[in-house]
Symmetry: C2
DNA sequence: TTTTATTACTGTACCGAATCCAATAATACG
DNA sequence: CGTATTATTGGATTCGGTACAGTAATAAAA
């Protein structure tokens, strides 16, 4: 329902799977190259994977989930990365470092579908919806983390604005990185360059945030 | 197609309108209060307004346009506000002032549907899609403006990251403002508090952006 | 006054995403 | 051999959005 995957780990009882998950992803990847994302229907994906249309929804909650298969895994690690970076100094630095860890998972190859298709077909409503859904999920994570790091009585607005701004900068970095073409290199430097000024600007503000209120 | 409205000003020839536009907005407002946004269909809105379902699409390109009727007008003025603030000093300051002008159009009453429904029903796919669509449109505006202000040879990433970050901070401000309840007051102070740190952090970076490259 | 261009409105049909539900198939376990 | 559990399937339905043809209502031209 949330845009994340429906089926992940296998239970021990019941009818075994026909390994449909990966087959669906591969079938979708082929079709996205032949036709675009918008040009392929779930029916076609399921048909090429050799399963029914309904089984597709057993593995993905929406067609747009296929755009994020490469990203969702990395995004799932943000919460853990935030906890790892919790102790070190400023809240802004912790968030920045956590984002760098996540960004380190993305190399020059394998640019996610969400970014390539964004360039290819502009931006469809489905892509936008799925993108903002993930953005807001991460934003809630960072907001909660920042509020805790700043301390009790932290003002809501600074924490929230910092979280959204720092994630937006990350998204901008990912967009520029994806558009950079073959010689893009690793994602992390892009993220660092985009995120650092935001953290710098919010450093003092967040330090005083618990006093103001 | 872009999320904006299809029909705006009246031509001089042809069959006159049945003043459907405002009637549709009012019918939608009633239904959104009775049921939620997600709970009302276009069919119901058109029926209460006394027009056909197809006529709805003569005035709005999508159901989600109704969530932004109050906002789109203000957003349309951002380009003009940016031009007004172009000359004054730093690019960051110009953007910040332009955003303040836009924010000044929103008072304590009349919180747009997009924000109230977001709180009410979490966030549906339609709302997210329409929201990001508008966000990206404004982001392109600010990015182009910032690039020009910084000067020729400006690096892409800083301008893009700044634009997205500053707009994300604005969105965060709007969200907190809407949630603040009856005593929220004007939107502008929220935006100023959220946006200023981002501009502060990017001030030096953007000043050096045309030298780095 | 009649014609014509222009615009508004309506009905019908269609497509695709997503949900719901009932039925069946394949496995593990008692 | 039942039984619980899970996977898969098919059918039906809902809803947003598009396409298209046809009709109605107005202003201006003939």
């Amino acid at each position: 329902m949330m845009g994340a995957t429906v089926v992940k780990e296998t239970p021990k009882a019941g009818r075994p799977r026909r390994s449909s998950r990966q087959m669906l992803e591969e079938a979708a990847a082929e079709l996205f190259l032949e036709q675009t994302y918008a040009g392929t229907t779930i029916e076609q994906i399921a048909q090429r994977a050799g399963v029914s249309r309904n089984t597709f929804f057993n593995y993905f909650s929406a067609k747009s989930d296929l755009l994020w298969v490469d990203i969702d895994d990395g995004l799932a690690g943000l919460a853990r990365s935030l906890d790892e970076c919790a102790g070190a100094g400023h809240a802004t630095d912790a968030v920045r470092r956590a984002l760098m860890i996540v960004a380190d998972g993305f190399g020059p190859a394998n640019v996610p579908w969400a970014l390539t298709q964004y360039e290819l077909m502009g931006t469809s409503a489905e892509l936008e919806a799925s993108a903002l859904s993930r953005f807001m999920a991460q934003a809630d994570l960072v907001t909660q983390f920042t509020s805790i790091q700043v301390g009790t009585g932290a003002a809501v607005l600074p924490c929230r604005a910092f979280s959204l701004a720092v994630l937006a900068a990350t998204a901008a970095a990912a967009g520029v990185w994806a558009k950079a073409g073959v010689a893009r290199g690793r994602l992390a430097p892009y993220v660092d360059e985009a995120v650092s000024p935001v953290c710098e600007g919010y450093r003092l503000v967040l330090a005083q945030a618990r006093i103001d209120e």
